[in-house]
């Protein structure tokens, strides 16, 4: 079981020693079970830090903000930012390093192992509790979670309420870190694409029907994009901004700017959005599942990325986020590739 005190001790130490500017972690919230992001500067504030099965966030997304802030400063503080990561999140750091979005010295990584459990799926838990409200959730002693409700404490086997991605996780302890908290436990997953196969096994017409219904629900709030650490482009195809436009840009040039998709939330445009995003994440998505968690309409977006993850694995034996030095999937080419169109 992960020791919160150990985390606080490490965090407090690096702040006191001035090793980091601040630490990106989690603290408890006023309005629900999930904690909220915390940006801790003072060593005494590390007491606020929490670590429990509701720590679903992939905090690496805030490295994007840090980079933007730094770019605006005249004399930026070059010290690293401390960041708390789980196994899946640490893979995101590797991808960001591989793409040179960040440098290794930009981050001081406090890695936490999920050992034999992971993080919970709030909806699964709600179903289990049948209307009772969970007030608190903690790691138990035996790969279980201890849930506090108004009627007291109950224990639930982690497997029953873990989020799907944890059940299919390929990196349950951090693959890159400066400090590791918890054990590198052994754990076997029989099939990392098990949930995806439910969708893959549907006949094409039914699969189309499934996706059309799901994608039609989308209100294009772009929370799935905004929460994704890999969606760091300053200019995204879905926004009608363009940094090329200045007060001197002639009207004709502006008019010629390509509009990739309409703002209307109709099937065709929604599909364009989701296809573009899925393609842009091929070989980059590390399956932290955040896009799916934040969707207010419960659209199972994770499957789109999972499908491409599977293709990359089967066709190119490629897995994202394990090696910051490997060439990226979409920008590399092997001589033995059977297709010759690219030569």
């Amino acid at each position: 079981m992960v020791n919160l005190e150990e985390l606080k001790k490490e965090a407090s130490q690096i702040l006191k020693e001035g090793k980091v500017k601040y630490i990106i972690g989690l603290q408890s919230s006023s309005n629900g079970l999930l904690p909220v992001p915390a940006f801790i500067k003072n060593p005494e504030d590390v007491e606020k830090l929490v670590w429990n099965p509701a720590c679903v966030y992939n905090l690496t997304l805030f490295l994007r903000d840090e980079k933007r802030r730094k770019a605006k400063e005249k004399e930026p503080d070059e010290k690293p930012v401390g960041i708390i990561v789980k196994g899946c999140d640490s893979r995101a750091i590797n991808v960001l390093l591989q793409e040179e979005f960040i440098k290794r010295d930009d981050v001081y990584i406090l890695g936490i192992s999920c050992e034999n459990t992971g993080v919970l799926d709030e909806k699964k838990l709600a179903k289990k509790l049948k209307g009772k409200k969970a007030e608190k959730v903690e790691f138990g002693e035996k790969d279980d979670f201890v849930i506090t409700t108004e009627d007291g404490k109950i224990k639930i086997a982690a497997q029953e309420v873990l989020s799907e991605r944890c059940l299919e996780c390929k990196a349950h302890f951090p693959v890159i870190y400066d400090v590791l908290i918890g054990e590198k436990t052994k754990r076997n997953i029989e099939n990392p694409f098990k949930s995806l196969e439910r969708i893959e096994s549907l006949p094409p017409e039914e699969r189309w029907k499934f996706w059309k219904e799901q994608i039609d629900k989308c209100i294009r709030c772009y929370a799935c994009r905004s929460v994704c650490p890999m969606c760091y482009c300053d200019e995204c195809v879905v926004d009608t901004i363009s940094f090329v436009v200045t007060p001197d840009t002639p009207a004709e040039e502006k008019a010629q700017k390509i509009k990739w998709l309409e703002k209307s939330p109709v099937s065709s445009e929604n599909f364009v959005y989701h296809f573009v995003r899925a393609i842009h994440l091929t070989g980059r998505c590390i399956d932290c599942g955040e896009c799916e968690r934040v969707c207010p309409l419960d659209i199972p977006i994770r499957f789109l990325n999972k499908k491409l993850e599977k293709e990359a694995k089967e066709l190119f034996d490629y897995e994202a986020g394990f090696d910051p030095d490997q060439p990226s999937l979409v920008s590399s080419f092997k001589d033995e590739d059977p297709e010759d169109f690219i030569r």
């Binding site: 919230s29 006023s30 309005n31 629900g32 999930l34 904690p35 909220v36 992001p37 940006f39 966030y57 997304l61 805030f62 903000d65 909806k123 709600a126 409200k133 629900k217 209100i219 294009r220 709030c221 772009y222 929370a223 994009r225 905004s226 929460v227 926004d239 009608t240 901004i241 363009s242 940094f243 436009v245 200045t246 007060p247 840009t249 502006k254 309409e262 703002k263 209307s264 939330p265 109709v266 955040e290 968690r293 934040v294 207010p296 309409l297 419960d298």
Partner: protein, 346 residues
């Protein structure tokens, strides 16, 4: 007009309303949303708060305003497309969501009355439901001049009395609906009236969350435009569209031409929801953006709701539904932000 309806007779009433398009909260997987009801038997008013409010029906996310085309002689033709007038009924409107429509009424009903909005608004009858227990743990209607049995904006308010509904109609549209199935409704007894008052009084006590001293907030915000407060509060915001798109009172829109053919020209001018959290919101064509970062966007959301709207219309532009709190991906809590702002620097 006040009547009572046996709970089991609700589907029969719905069946009588065949000349209307009927919406009701329906369960889709793990959440509830308003959808057209296809079979009267499935009507279920034992629901949690819907993801989207009835805003999505009265002020839909996409609306065609007009079609345009050029013929061979290069003559431009424009054809206005107004929503069709088939009357609609929305069942299970939460009192706060009903009140939200009285706020969007002000926005779309000033000197210029928006015909698209009013066509739908006028042809829709809103049947509300008292929140005997709050449908979300983040409800705080009492702090923003609302109540779990408010009748504002509603045509009818129903209250669950156990095996029957107490139906109060406040408008002609409401009376028509009750009169369309006269045989199903009875006059309330003295006991029904007593039960109603008791339930209404209790419903207020069950609201857990509140903003203290909301009335002090607008004046305070006025001096906080340039405050570093917004930088700190927005640190974890990911600038998505959830808080504003789900908000029953947010009404910002964008207009675009969707061109389906360029020669001859053919297309539609379309209005879609917009929101102040997106990077291209009110961005100028020069490239200048008046709200360039997330701090200024959070400030816009809070100030619009608790300062500008109050100055313009003497109402908060928030009805306390708690949607923006429950659904924010990073737990930004409008109650907390407002209370911190109220106490800031004192």
């Amino acid at each position: 007009m006040e009547k009572v309806l046996l709970k089991k007779a609700l589907p029969q009433w719905v069946k009588k309303l065949e000349s209307y398009t009927i919406y009701s909260p329906q369960e889709e997987g793990d959440f509830w949303n308003y959808e057209v009801i296809k079979n009267a038997e499935i009507i279920d008013l034992d629901y949690l708060n819907t993801v989207l409010s009835p805003k999505k029906i009265i002020f839909p996310q996409r609306e065609v305003l007009f079609e345009f085309s050029t013929s061979n002689e290069d003559e431009l033709k424009v054809k206005e497309i107004l929503p069709e007038e088939r009357p609609a009924v929305i069942f299970g409107v939460r009192p706060c969501d009903g009140k939200a429509l009285t706020l969007t009424d002000k926005v779309f009903g000033g000197d210029f009355k928006d015909p698209y909005y009013w066509k739908r608004r006028n042809s829709t009858t809103l049947v509300g439901l008292t929140c005997n227990t709050p449908p979300s743990s983040n409800c705080f209607c009492l702090s923003v001049d609302g109540s779990p049995h408010s009748k504002e904006g509603l045509d009818i308010l129903m209250t669950d009395l156990g095996d029957k509904y107490y139906a109060e109609s406040f408008t002609k549209k409401g009376d028509e609906l009750l009169n369309s199935a006269k045989a199903l409704f009875k006059s309330p007894t003295a006991k029904d009236k007593k039960d109603l008052e008791k339930i209404k009084a209790e419903s207020k006590k069950k609201i857990k969350r509140q903003i203290k001293a909301t009335e002090k907030i607008p004046a305070k915000l006025k001096d906080m435009f340039a405050s570093p407060f917004w930088d700190d509060e927005s640190l974890s915001c990911i600038r998505c569209g959830i808080c504003t798109y789900l908000c029953p009172t947010c009404h910002c829109f964008d207009m675009n031409d969707e061109v389906t053919s360029s020669s001859p020209i053919k297309g539609e001018r379309v209005r879609t929801w917009d929101n102040c959290q997106f990077p291209d919101f009110t961005m100028h064509s020069s490239g200048h953006n008046p709200r360039p970062d997330k701090a200024s966007r959070l400030r816009q959301r809070i100030l619009h709701k608790f300062q500008y709207f109050v100055e313009l219309y003497k109402n908060y532009q928030c009805i306390g539904c708690g949607r923006c709190i429950s659904k924010c991906p990073v737990g930004i809590d409008i109650i907390e932000v407002l209370e911190k702002a109220r106490d800031y620097g004192s």
